[in-house]
């Protein structure tokens, strides 16, 4: 099993703050308040959590939630080893024991009967009940819980229960301002700032199509992908097609419209 030192992020992740999110997170952490991060996909929520973990010097344990996730997957289970049974902590329990930051990504994907296990950790009790051990684990002050999801307009079939969401301090994320976003892309993809600015312009045009053919415009992450492809020698229009248009949608007309927008920024025969 990994020890906490292996889960500490030693290299500082690159993150540029856009407002006071760093201060809000730090204060909430020190007050023992859990955090809810909301925002579109690829806008920097996970990177922010990594950054804050490094900044606070705490290990980070990430769980990608899905609808097959059970309470045992989070809390732990007995395993049979030879003739013995051995208790194996789940990621949530490990995080509590080592005073780590536990990050539940896309928490609405998990079943509601699974997510309720975090309730005692999220209020003033800060307790994790481990029923199979008959144990109540008190979370140390260093423990922090962070959950994230993409609100959009929520499906009526998948919603965060009020009893869950009202336990958290929430931060809303969005794509950075164009100047900052270009700097992030140039840094992540090692490309020129001018090209990064053009990519951001292109992303802005695709974001105008949110709700009009696209669920979301191009995220910062997709722009980084495209920039990396171009930096490795892929022609620009091909990179925009593969990394952005085809990733955003399967609708042929919308793909064509997004490629038209790429041509509007880079020119039809850009290379």
């Amino acid at each position: 099993m990994q020890d906490s030192s292996q889960l500490i992020i030693s290299e500082p992740p690159y993150y540029r703050s856009v407002a006071d999110e760093v201060e809000v997170f730090e204060r909430s952490y020190r007050l023992g308040l859990p955090m809810l991060l909301k925002g579109p996909t690829g806008c920097g929520k996970t990177r922010f959590v990594e950054y804050m973990s490094h900044r606070l010097g705490r290990p980070l344990i990430t769980v990608s939630c899905h609808d097959d996730l059970t309470t045992s997957d989070l809390v732990g289970r007995f395993l049979v080893r030879g003739e013995e049974t051995v208790w194996s902590d789940g990621p949530l329990t490990r995080a509590v024991r080592m005073g780590a930051i536990c990050y539940l990504d896309e928490v609405v994907e998990a079943r509601k009967d699974t997510t309720v296990v975090i309730h005692p950790l999220c209020d003033d009790r800060r307790l994790l009940p481990i029923e199979k051990l008959g144990e109540y684990l008190q979370a140390p002050p260093e423990f922090g819980l962070v959950i994230s999801y993409n609100p959009g307009y929520q499906s009526i079939l998948k919603e965060l229960k009020p009893s869950t969401r009202q336990r958290f301090v929430a931060l809303s994320f969005n794509y950075p301002e164009p100047v900052l976003e270009a700097e992030v892309i140039a840094r992540e993809a090692s490309c020129s700032i001018e090209f990064a600015e053009d990519l951001v312009r292109f992303a802005g045009l695709t974001r105008n199509l949110k709700g009009n053919g696209l669920d979301e415009g191009a995220s910062t992450r997709l722009l980084v992908h495209a920039a990396k492809l171009v930096a490795s020698g892929t022609p620009i229009m091909r990179a925009c097609q593969s990394a952005i248009a085809e990733a955003l949608t399967d609708d042929p007309e919308v793909i064509a419209a997004v490629e038209d927008l790429a041509a509007a920024v880079f020119g039809q025969c850009a290379d």
Binding site: D68, T70, S72, R77, F78, L79, V80, E84, T85, W87, K132, P151, G152, Y153, Q154, S155, I156, L157, P162, G204, L205, T206, N208, L209, G211, N212, G213, D215, D250, D251, E253, V254, A256, A257, V258, D260, L261, A263, A264, V265, F266, G267, Q268, A270
Partner: protein, 713 residues
């Protein structure tokens, strides 16, 4: 698509010949029938069957028509690679239906004309097929948001953009699409960079030689707009330039400024106009480029004047509620789409439409109504999050069905509903008075009646026009049909859950009891969703909005069969609390049949938008449907408003209360609106994430299905 002809078969040949003679009769001689049979026999087998079927159809209509068809069909089939003969046959049939035998004979007797047109269309690009892509491209470029429509000329009125039905002059479809793009973006740029204003249109109309003045003005504007595009969208400008060289063979339109004695294009449209109108003497204007389109001053004047009228209405400080005639008109004017937001910022300009604070607007139309003081324990804070249900008084009455004998003399107005038709219902529902902080019991009289039937051709035309969108919607809906999944850790099921068994074994070895949840059960995720679509039929929906509503419902219903969801469609309108009308377009129990389609086609604008009453009335119906999830989707073009006092805060609060009551009954409410000010009041009524504001009403056909897909995925 090449297909190999079927082998010759004498028996088949004879049969075809006999069929032709039987179907068509005397117009065909035996020898001609024999020759035609050999020609038809050379076609692929599936095509032969279709040709004979069409021959029978036409021959039934008229023998000459059958003969004309069968004489020309083989040539057309071969010339169009077996793809175009069906379209030709349909055209002839429609010509017969709408214009008679002569028109149909004109079609079948001109196969060369059809083939030429077909070939031109094959290399061309038509508006209907590229409209969506073009619309999204323009939307992506940003404001202004213009609606696209088909028209004889390429013009704009600063709110809409008309383009020709097809382009075929360039060799390939993609080239002809570039022509559409160039025209569209140039007309769009006229709005973005403020070529047109009411004052400038009037100044042009006052010129002695109107055509000359307009041509000079547009020549200068072409250069100015091209320069602006070069600055903001250099790649787009390059593409336009390249296309103009390709199509026109020149770019002399760039020389317009120097022909007017200017070193560079004018800085703004006002300067273009001054220069164009002040120049005396003859001059040679540059040739018009292919992408410039035309200018329709009458259209512009009408549009810009209506925008100005709407703007004046909004800043009216009378504080009085508009009279009935004014109310509907002002509502229509207020909701008239304005020109692109980016264009609306010239100071003192008639088409300047900067946003007004919503609070000011609410107060102006609320007859100086002040919000009631908060009652103890029920502060404003309790009302700010519609996701948490507010207190709903338990003493509400409502849902009383109409009983003339009970109501007679009770003082409750029946508003002329004593005669209730066999297929009509009347209910009394309460209304929430936010000032009194209580309900007005049985205040609204709601009449539920069947919707009027419209023309079934509307449905056919809609499906034809939106065939690409229908396919896209169906594809996306197919993804919602969940495959069966497996629930683990169940008390019983078809299979043993091995993971649970392993875990149970470990738990038992650790001294814990043996759990019972050791099975896996296959779950067929049949969707259990009931949805009710509530369609605004107020007078302000006249025109584009009404058309978009009907088209959106058609597209949605066509795709619903895939999902198996239970759904209903009702329209609403009315005037005052005594005459709230709810129109039954499709009840939950109705199948999506021709009658429903005609009722959708028959949705027409009527009165006002008293929203609380239909929500209460229909929420009861929706709550009674056995389904795990219930959804109420309202399609509206503006905030709640009715004659005499149901407006502003009062209307919003009553609607909000009605939606709160629905949520308590487990109904999830969502609103789709084209009211650009919707963001001001919809969060209060529906919640911050339960509405969407469309920039362009023509997005509605696609957007409605997309919203439904998102909400129920």
């Amino acid at each position: 698509m090449a297909r190999s002809p079927i082998p010759r078969n004498t028996f088949v040949l004879v049969r075809i010949e006999k069929d032709l003679l039987r179907l068509v009769g005397s117009p065909l001689s035996v020898s001609e029938a024999e020759r035609l049979a050999r020609d038809i026999d050379s076609l692929p087998r599936d095509v032969v069957a279709r040709v004979l079927a069409w021959t029978e159809i036409f021959a039934r209509l008229h023998a000459e028509l059958g003969a004309g068809f069968v004489r020309a069909v083989v040539a057309i089939a071969k010339a169009t690679h077996m793809e175009g003969y069906e379209a030709w046959a349909r055209r002839a049939a429609e010509a017969f239906d709408h214009r008679g035998l002569g028109a149909a004979l004109s079609v079948v007797n001109d196969p060369d004309g059809f083939v030429a047109e077909y070939r031109a269309r094959a290399r061309g690009c038509d508006f209907d097929s590229c409209r969506r892509r073009l619309g999204m491209w323009l939307a992506g470029l940003g404001a202004p948001s213009l609606r696209l429509a088909k028209g004889p000329r390429a013009v704009t009125d600063t709110e809409r953009l008309w383009l020709p039905s097809a382009f075929q002059s360039l060799p390939k479809p993609e080239d002809n699409y570039r022509l559409y793009q160039a025209l569209a973006v140039f007309l769009w740029s006229q709005v973005r960079y403020q070529t047109w204003s009411r004052a400038r249109v009037m100044d042009l109309l006052r010129q002695q030689d109107l055509d000359l003045a307009v041509n000079r003005f547009l020549a200068l504007e072409t250069a100015r707009l091209f320069q602006a595009l070069t600055h903001d969208f250099p790649a787009v400008a390059r593409a336009i330039h390249h296309l103009a060289i390709e199509v026109d063979g020149h770019d002399e339109w760039l020389t317009a400024p120097e022909r007017f004695g200017l070193r560079e294009p004018p800085p703004d449209a006002e300067r273009s106009l001054v220069v164009a109108c002040s120049l005396t003497g003859a001059m040679v204007l540059p040739q018009t480029p292919c992408f410039r389109g035309a200018a329709d001053l009458a259209l512009l004047r009408e549009r810009l004047f209506s925008v100005e009228a709407a703007r004046r209405q909004r800043i009216s400080v009378s504080g009085e509620h508009p009279s009935e005639d004014q109310g509907a008109a002002s509502a229509a004017g207020r909701r008239a789409p304005r020109p692109g937001a980016a264009a609306g910022t010239q100071s003192g300009d008639a088409n300047s439409t900067s946003r007004r604070p919503s609070r000011l607007e609410v107060e102006l139309h609320g007859a100086n109504r002040r919000p009631a003081p908060a009652r103890p324990g029920v502060g404003l804070e309790a009302h700010t999050d519609p996701s948490t249900p507010d207190r709903v008084p338990t003493s509400t009455t409502g849902g009383q069905r109409y009983d003339p004998s009970a109501r007679a003399g009770s003082g409750v107005s029946t508003a002329g509903y004593d005669r209730v038709g066999a297929d009509e219902e009347v209910e009394f529902v309460p209304e929430w008075d936010h000032e009194r902080q209580c309900y007005r019991d049985d205040y609204c009289t709601v009449r539920i009646l069947p919707g009027a039937e419209g023309d079934s051709l509307f449905v056919r035309d809609t499906l034809e026009r939106h065939r690409g969108t229908v396919k896209s919607i169906k594809r996306r809906f197919e993804a919602l049909i969940g495959a069966p999944t497996v629930d683990r850790h169940q008390e019983d099921g078809e299979e043993v859950d091995v993971d649970a068994m392993v875990e149970a074994h470990a738990d038992r070895m650790a001294g814990l009891g043996f759990p019972e949840h050791l099975y896996r059960r296959r779950v067929d995720h049949a969707r259990s969703i009931a949805a009710l679509f509530l369609v605004d039929m107020s007078g302000s929906t006249r025109g584009w909005v009404n058309q978009a509503e009907r088209e959106a419902l058609i597209l949605l219903c066509e795709s619903f069969s895939l999902l198996g969801d239970t759904y209903a469609i009702y329209g609403f309108s009315g005037r005052t609390h005594k005459r709230c009308e709810v129109f039954r377009i499709k009840a939950f129990a109705d199948r999506y049949d021709d009658a429903v389609k005609r009722r959708i086609a028959g949705i027409a604008p009527k009165g006002y938008t008293r929203l609380g009453a239909p929500i209460r009335c229909l929420s009861r119906r929706l709550a009674a449907v056995p389904a795990r999830h219930r959804l109420l989707v309202t399609i509206s073009d503006g905030k709640p408003e009715d004659y005499r006092s149901y407006s502003g805060t009062y209307g919003i609060e009553d609607t909000r209360q009605a939606l709160t009551e629905s949520r308590r009954n487990g109904i999830h409410a969502f609103c789709i609106t084209i009211d650009e000010d919707g963001g001001d009041y919809l969060p209060r009524m529906y919640g911050p994430a339960n509405f969407v504001v469309l920039d362009d009403v023509m997005q509605l056909p696609y957007k409605l299905a997309e919203v439904y897909r998102r909400l129920t995925s």
